[in-house]
Amino acid sequence: MKLKKGFVIRVVGGESVVVPVGELSKTFHGMINLNETGAFLWKFYNEEHTVEEGVAALCGEYDVAPEQAEADVRKFVETLQANGFTE
C-alpha cells in the first residue's frame, strides 16, 4: 500500500492538514484533517508498506497495544483506499 503522489502535508495552527495538488486537486476538492497518529501513518505510507509494517511502526512510535494499532491502521488504510488516495 502506498499513497498517490500529489498531496501536500503541513502543520497549520498546530493541526496536520493534507491538501491535494495538481491533477489530484481536480478530482478531490478540499482538505483532510489528521490527528497525530494519522499524520504519522500518512508520512509512513508515502513509501510502499504493508498493513503489518504500519502496525509495527505505530507500536514502535507510540505506546499502543498491537490489537489497537492493527485496528487503527486497518481503518486508516481502508479510508485511504475508499477515497482513491492509494496507488
Partner: protein, 241 residues
C-alpha cells in the same frame, strides 16, 4: 490594463469591458513598468463558470474568473484571499467571518450604526498580506454583492467568527479551533508551490492574529460584546449618541 491591487501591480487581460469599469478605481497611473502578475481567463474556465452561474452576463462571469485567478497566484507573493468582512476602527482592522446567512452583514451593519468613525475596507473578499508586523487587509474591487469597501488597507488585529445565538457571548479560540473554521473561508490553489505557500500563510495568520468566537443576536449589546473584547476599549465611552 495594469491595476494597483493589494500592493501589487496586476495586469488584467479581459475580453469584456465589464472588468475595466469594475476595477477603474484601482487603475494604475503607471501602465509601463513591470508587473507582479498577469491574469486572463481561458475558454475552458469561462465555460465552466458560465455553467455554474447561469443567468449572469459574460462580463460578470469573466470578472469572477479573473479574481479567482489572481487569488490563486498571490500566495507566492505573501498574500491570500479571505472570505470575510473587514472593518476599520481607529486605524485597526477587524475581520468578521461566517458562512453566508450567519449574519455577517447584519453585525457589521450594527458596528457602522453604533460606533463612530468605522469604515468598511472590504465587505466580502479582502486580500491579506503577511508582513513582519502581522497581516494587512486590503480593499479590492471585489467586495461582494453589496459593493461595500474602499481602496485602502488596514493592519488586521482580530478574526471574529460569528454564530447566531439568543444571548451574546464571546471567547478566544485556540489555534486548532481557528484552523478548522478558517479553511472554509479561504481559496486553495491547485499548484503545489501556491498550496504550500497558502498553508504557511494560514498558519502564520492563526499564530499571529487573535481569533474569537462571537455568539450573538442582532441587538446593540452584540456590538458592545465584540467591540470591547477585540479592541479592549469601553463601548459606553465611544458609542454614538
Amino acid at each position: 490594463m495594469i491595476y494597483d491591487i493589494a500592493g501589487l501591480r496586476i495586469k488584467i487581460e479581459n475580453r469584456c469591458s465589464y472588468t475595466e469599469n469594475f476595477c477603474k478605481a484601482y487603475l494604475s497611473k503607471d501602465q509601463t513598468s513591470p508587473t507582479d502578475l498577469s491574469v486572463k481567463v481561458t475558454v475552458d474556465e469561462f465555460r465552466a463558470e458560465k455553467e455554474i452561474s447561469g443567468n449572469f452576463s459574460d462580463g460578470y462571469v469573466e470578472n469572477i474568473c479573473l479574481y479567482r485567478n489572481i487569488c490563486k497566484q498571490i500566495p507566492l507573493l505573501n498574500r491570500i484571499l479571505l472570505h470575510a468582512a473587514v472593518l476599520e476602527y481607529d486605524g485597526n482592522g477587524y475581520a468578521f467571518l461566517g458562512r453566508s446567512g450567519t449574519g455577517k452583514s447584519t453585525h457589521t451593519g450594527l458596528w457602522l450604526k453604533h460606533i463612530p468613525n468605522v469604515r468598511i475596507i472590504n465587505g466580502d473578499k479582502p486580500i491579506l498580506q503577511a508582513t513582519e508586523n502581522g497581516f494587512l487587509a486590503y480593499g479590492t474591487p471585489w467586495m461582494g454583492k453589496e459593493g461595500l469597501g474602499c481602496n485602502a488597507s488596514t493592519p488586521l488585529k482580530g478574526l471574529c467568527f460569528l454564530e447566531q445565538a439568543p444571548e451574546n457571548s464571546i471567547r478566544r479560540l485556540i489555534p486548532s479551533e481557528v484552523s478548522a473554521r478558517l479553511f472554509t473561508q479561504i481559496l486553495l490553489p491547485q499548484d503545489e508551490e501556491n498550496v504550500v505557500a497558502t498553508l504557511e500563510l494560514v498558519d502564520r495568520l492563526i499564530m499571529n492574529t487573535p481569533a474569537y468566537l462571537l455568539r450573538c443576536n442582532i441587538s446593540e449589546e452584540a456590538v458592545q460584546t465584540s467591540f470591547e473584547e477585540m479592541t479592549g476599549l469601553n463601548y459606553q465611552n465611544i458609542k454614538k449618541n
